[in-house]
């Protein structure tokens, strides 16, 4: 599944009510590292369609959501499970590093 764009209005349904592990990517057009990490997240989304959902939040359009989660650096990857923020990563990082951070949150395969 390809990443989904979320707004303040759809965040509850797309993220908090989701039945999979959700990685929320807080990003902006003008943020270089955000552009670097975007294709990495696309890959994670397509390779883990059963277990991981990627949701994008554009901080230019959704400032309130960024404030709700006290986000002051992007890219900011918030990992949500069962409606709760369980892990956070700041800055662009390679796929392997992201997967290492969330491995123990995924269902055993």
């Amino acid at each position: 599944m390809q990443p989904v764009e979320a707004t303040k209005a759809s965040f509850d349904q797309e993220v908090l009510q989701a039945d999979k592990l959700v990685i929320v990517d807080f990003w902006a057009e003008w943020c270089g590292p955000c552009r670097m990490v975007a294709p990495v997240l696309d890959e994670i989304a397509s390779e883990n369609a059963d277990s991981i959902k990627i949701v994008k939040v554009n901080v230019d359009h959704e400032q309130q959501l960024a404030m709700d989660y006290s986000v002051t650096s992007i890219p900011f990857l918030g990992v949500f499970q069962g409606g709760k923020l369980v892990k956070q990563m700041v800055g662009a990082r390679p796929k392997a590093a992201i997967m290492d951070e969330i491995r123990d949150l995924l269902p055993a395969s």
């Binding site: 902006a28 003008w30 943020c31 270089g32 590292p33 955000c34 670097m36 990490v37 990495v40 901080v59 960024a66 006290s70 986000v71 002051t72 650096s73 992007i74 890219p75 900011f76 956070q88 700041v90 800055g91 662009a92 990082r93 390679p94 796929k95 392997a96």
Partner: protein
């Protein structure tokens, strides 16, 4: 088997690539998956790179480097090196996507990584007030009071850039004078939104879930005081990235790769190093580029004399 693999994609790596490609060595550059372009990708205005009299943005400069390297046939892989074996005649380089590459020579231009403050709760508050990238995060601090810690050119660059957003920017520095260039010092002193706090170090970060202040310690008297800020930008320098190779090539006490005199030759034949990873002194884009050129010429000479 490749003639040359270049690890890293800052000014040193790209310049090595341009020279190696023009020498028909078909270089492979392993540029990193998420940090290609190196430190300049996080820089705003670059005013001291010759050839650009009006200055330009760091990411634009790096895009030009890349274009020039590719024009002459450099192959660029946006992957991360996970393991190397440089000790033999054939150099082996493994990447994060599980590939293994072999080459007769390797140029190490892995640069330097931003230094952390080393105070408690730094990790917890990073992304919640503590930041390393003014261009990425300035936006979040509109009309807020924030601070930059550091005394070099990059600290001044960030402080001036951040005044476009913040209502006030403190510059916290552990000494009573700056290492930054005269022009950047003057610009910072003249900027009404910037206030300097001298002889001070940060010992504590306060606030939850967001930063709302720091505890400063006077580096002369030891006296402590609180400073209310909502953002802290860390620009206290960087450390050479040598983790991959430190058990194979010789490293100095300060953890830079050792090279032979004015050359780029490391302690291993066929392994060359360039840029910030060998430079404890100058660490400029232009010196890195110059040293990347040296590495490519050294590699070319090594290959032709084999």
């Amino acid at each position: 088997m490749r003639e040359v693999i270049i690890i890293g994609s800052g000014p040193a790596g790209y310049t090595a690539a341009i020279y190696a490609a023009r020498a028909a060595l078909n270089p492979l550059m392993i540029a990193s998956s998420v940090e290609p372009g190196g430190e300049l990708m996080k820089t705003t205005e670059v005013e001291n790179y010759p050839g650009f009299p009006n200055g330009l943005m760091g990411p634009d400069l790096m895009a030009s480097f890349q274009e020039q390297a590719e024009r002459f046939g450099t192959e660029i892989m946006f992957e991360d090196v996970t393991e190397v074996d440089l000790t033999g005649d054939i150099k082996i380089v493994k990447t994060g996507n599980g590939e293994t590459y072999e080459a007769k020579t390797v140029i190490l231009s892995t640069g330097a990584a931003y230094r952390e403050l080393g105070v408690p709760r730094e990790k917890e508050l990073s992304g919640h007030g503590v930041s390393w990238c003014a261009t990425c995060d300035g936006f979040f601090f509109r009309e807020k009071v924030i601070a930059v810690i550091g005394g070099g050119d990059s600290a001044m660059e960030e402080a001036n850039f951040l005044t476009k957003f913040a209502s006030k920017v403190y510059v916290i520095h552990r000494r009573d004078s700056l290492k930054a260039s005269e022009i950047m010092q003057k610009r910072s002193f003249d900027n009404e939104k910037i206030e300097f706090i001298w002889n001070s170090a940060i010992t504590e970060l306060k606030g939850s879930p967001k930063l709302d202040g720091v505890v400063l310690e006077d580096t002369v008297t030891g006296e402590k005081r609180d400073l209310a800020i909502e953002g802290l930008f860390v620009a206290i320098g960087s450390d050479p990235r040598v983790d991959l190779i430190e058990n194979q090539v010789e490293i100095s006490k300060e953890r830079f790769i050792k090279v032979d005199g004015r050359t780029s030759k490391t302690s291993l034949p066929g392994v060359f190093a360039a840029g910030d990873v060998i430079d404890p002194t100058y660490r400029q884009a232009i010196t890195a580029a110059g040293s990347g050129c040296v590495a490519a010429l050294d590699a070319e000479h090594y290959l032709s004399s084999k």
